[in-house]
Symmetry: C2
Subunit: 344 residues, 2 copies
C-alpha cells in the first residue's frame, strides 16, 4: 500500500502500541476504547470487557505524556520535605506513596534541607511539571514560595502542623501542645530546673519550645537561662556536645527536654560517658520516638508522633481535593502520644 509506505517514510511513529491499536483489536472507535479503559461510566459493559481484553492481549500501556497533554492534568504529586535523614519524614513519605500510587499518582520528592531558597527552587522546578497536587512540610515559607503555590492553583496540603487560617489544608499535630505535655511530664516527676535543648530551630522546634515555656510558666519554673538554642542541624554528636555545654553552664539542671530524639540519644550517650546518672541526677526526654530510642541506656522517654497516619490522611485529603471535592474540616489534628521509658 503506497499510502503506508509514504507514512513510514515521513513518519515519526515510535513503533509503540497506541490506543488506536487497541480500538482496532476490539473493533471499536478510539474514543470508546479510551472511555472503557478509564472507567468512564456510560459505556456498554460488553464493550468495556472487549476493550480491556484487547488491551491486556496487546500489553497496552497508555502514554502518560499524551494523556497529560490532552487532559491538562498530570499524574504527578510533588512532595516537599526538609530532610530524608530523619526517620520521621521517611515514615511520612512511605505512607504518602502507599496511598497515592494505587490511585495512579507518582510522587516527585524534593528535599529542601531546611533551606528556604532551596524550597523555592524546588517548588519552581516541580511546579513546571504541572503536578496535580502538592504536599509541603509546615506552614511557614517565604512570601515568594507561598505566592508560587497560590498562583499555581494546585491543591496543596500542609504536613506536620495544624493550621488555623482558612483555606489552608493541613494534617498534623499541635507541636506546641506536645511540647507542653512532655514538659508537664517532667514537672510531674518533681523536676523544677528543666532545660530545653533545641537545634535546627525550624518552626516546629520553636513551637515545641513555646509549649515548654507555657508549661514552665504555669508552674512558675521558667528560667530562660535553661534554654539552649543551636541553629546547626541535629545529630547525635551535637546532642552530646550540647549536653556537655549545658552541664558546664548549669550544673544545677535536673531535667532536659531535647527537641528531638537524635539530640536526646546523643545526650544520653554523653551522660553515660560522663557518668551522669539518668534519670537519678538528670531526667532526659526526646521527641518523635525514632529507631533506637528504646535501645538506649536507659531507654528514652519521648513523644510519639503519628507520622504514618499523617502521611496517609494528608494523601487522602489531597486525593479528594484533586477530584475537586470539598474537604471538611480543612485542618486535621492527629495528636501525639507520650512514651514514658526509663530516662525520666
Amino acid at each position: 500500500m503506497p499510502h503506508d509506505e509514504e507514512r513510514q517514510r515521513r513518519s515519526r511513529a515510535t513503533g509503540r502500541l497506541t490506543l488506536a491499536d487497541v480500538a482496532r483489536e476490539a473493533g471499536v472507535s478510539p474514543i470508546t476504547a479510551s472511555r472503557a479503559l478509564r472507567g468512564t461510566r456510560g459505556v456498554d459493559p460488553a464493550l468495556v470487557l472487549r476493550v480491556q481484553e484487547a488491551a491486556a492481549r496487546l500489553h497496552y500501556v497508555p502514554d502518560p505524556a499524551a494523556r497529560a497533554l490532552a487532559s491538562a492534568r498530570s499524574a504527578h504529586v510533588a512532595v516537599l520535605i526538609p530532610l530524608l535523614s530523619n526517620a520521621l519524614f521517611v515514615d511520612l513519605l512511605d505512607a504518602v506513596q502507599r496511598t497515592l500510587m494505587p490511585a495512579g499518582y507518582v510522587t516527585l520528592i524534593g528535599v529542601t534541607h531546611y533551606d528556604a531558597a532551596e524550597e523555592e527552587a524546588l517548588l519552581r522546578n516541580y511546579l513546571a511539571h504541572r503536578p496535580s497536587g502538592l504536599l509541603v512540610t509546615g506552614l511557614d515559607r517565604t512570601p515568594d514560595a507561598a505566592a508560587l503555590i497560590a498562583a499555581s492553583g494546585v491543591p496543596c496540603v500542609h504536613l506536620m502542623e495544624t493550621s488555623a487560617s482558612a483555606g489552608q489544608y493541613s494534617v498534623g499535630l499541635s507541636q506546641q501542645a506536645a511540647g507542653r505535655a512532655i514538659t508537664e511530664h517532667l514537672l510531674a516527676a518533681s523536676r523544677r530546673r528543666i532545660a530545653f535543648v533545641g537545634a535546627q530551630l525550624d518552626p516546629r522546634v520553636l513551637q515545641r519550645l513555646e509549649g515548654y515555656r507555657e508549661a514552665l510558666r504555669a508552674a512558675g519554673a521558667h528560667d530562660p537561662g535553661l534554654e539552649l538554642l543551636e541553629p546547626a542541624p541535629s545529630s547525635l554528636a551535637l546532642g552530646a556536645r550540647l549536653l556537655e555545654r549545658l552541664l558546664a553552664r548549669r550544673p544545677d539542671v535536673e531535667a532536659v527536654f531535647f527537641c528531638n530524639d537524635d539530640l536526646a540519644q546523643g545526650g544520653l550517650l554523653a551522660a553515660l560517658r560522663l557518668g551522669v546518672a539518668v534519670p537519678g541526677r538528670l531526667a532526659v526526654a526526646g521527641f518523635n520516638d525514632l529507631a533506637g530510642s528504646d535501645q538506649m541506656l536507659p531507654p528514652l522517654t519521648t513523644v510519639r508522633t503519628p507520622r504514618a497516619e499523617i502521611g496517609r490522611a494528608a494523601a487522602t485529603m489531597l486525593l479528594r481535593l484533586m477530584r475537586g471535592e470539598a474537604v471538611e474540616p480543612a485542618s486535621l489534628d492527629l495528636g501525639y502520644e507520650l512514651v514514658v521509658r526509663g530516662s525520666t
Copy 2:
C-alpha cells in the same frame, strides 16, 4: 473577529502561555523559538537572545507533557532503592538528585523494601511513565524484573555493586573485598574466633559474608558455628538480640563483624547493658559508617562506603548513556575505607 469567537466557543484552550506566544512576542516562528530555548546550535545568536528575553518577559514555562509527547523522551529518571530508613540510601539519593536536577531531570523514587514483588510492581509502574533513565540497587533481581528493564530499552545503571558481566552498567564497590578487609582487621587484632552477624540477608550482606569467610579460611580460622544469619530487617533492637543470642551460644567468641552499623550499634548497647567489655573481651565491627557510630561507647569500628560519590558517578554515567554516548568502563569500583575506632 468571528473566527476567534468560534475558537473560544469550541476551544479547549487552557489559557496557558505557549511557545506560540513567545514566538509572537519575539517576532519569530514557533520552531525558531523552540530551537532557541532548547539551545539547539545553528540559530542566529541575536534571535536566541530575543527569544530568551521574550520568554523571560512573559514568564514562559514549557509544558513537559507536550515536550515529552513530541520528542518521545521524558524528563524522568526512575530510581529504585530498598529502603529510605537506611542513611546509606538517603546519601545516595541526595547525590543523585543534585546531579540529575541541574541537567533538567526529575527523579521518580521507588522504595522496594527488599521485596522482589514490590520491585517488579514499581518497575512496571515507573516504566509506564517512560523514563529516560533507570537507576536500580544491586545486580540481582527476578527474571521478570530483569526482562522488564531489558525490554524497555531504557538505559540503566546498577548501584552499590560492581559488575563483571558485559553490557551491565554499574557503580559501587566490592562488598566482598570490604567484608574481607574488615575481617582481616579483626584477625590482625589477634582475634581468632570471629563471628559474623547478618540480617536482611540481601545480596550485598551475603557478599560481605563471603569476604568474611575468605579471610577466615585463609587464616585457617573459619568456623561455621560462628555465623549468625537472620532474615529479619536490621535494627538496633535486632542487633542487641542477636548479640545476646551469640553470646549464649558461643561464650568463647572474641570478635563480631555485624553486617551493618544498625546491628552493630544495637550490639554495642547490649554489650554495655550486659557488662561485656568492648573491645577487652569482645571486639565489635560494623559496616557503612552511619550517623551515631562515632558516638557509641566505645566508638564503632566500621567500613565507610562512598555512597555520595557512588550516587554522583552513577548519575553522571546515566546522563551520558541518556545522551547516547558510549561509556567506558561500564563498571566503576569506588572502593571503601576502614574506619578504625575504639571498638576493636
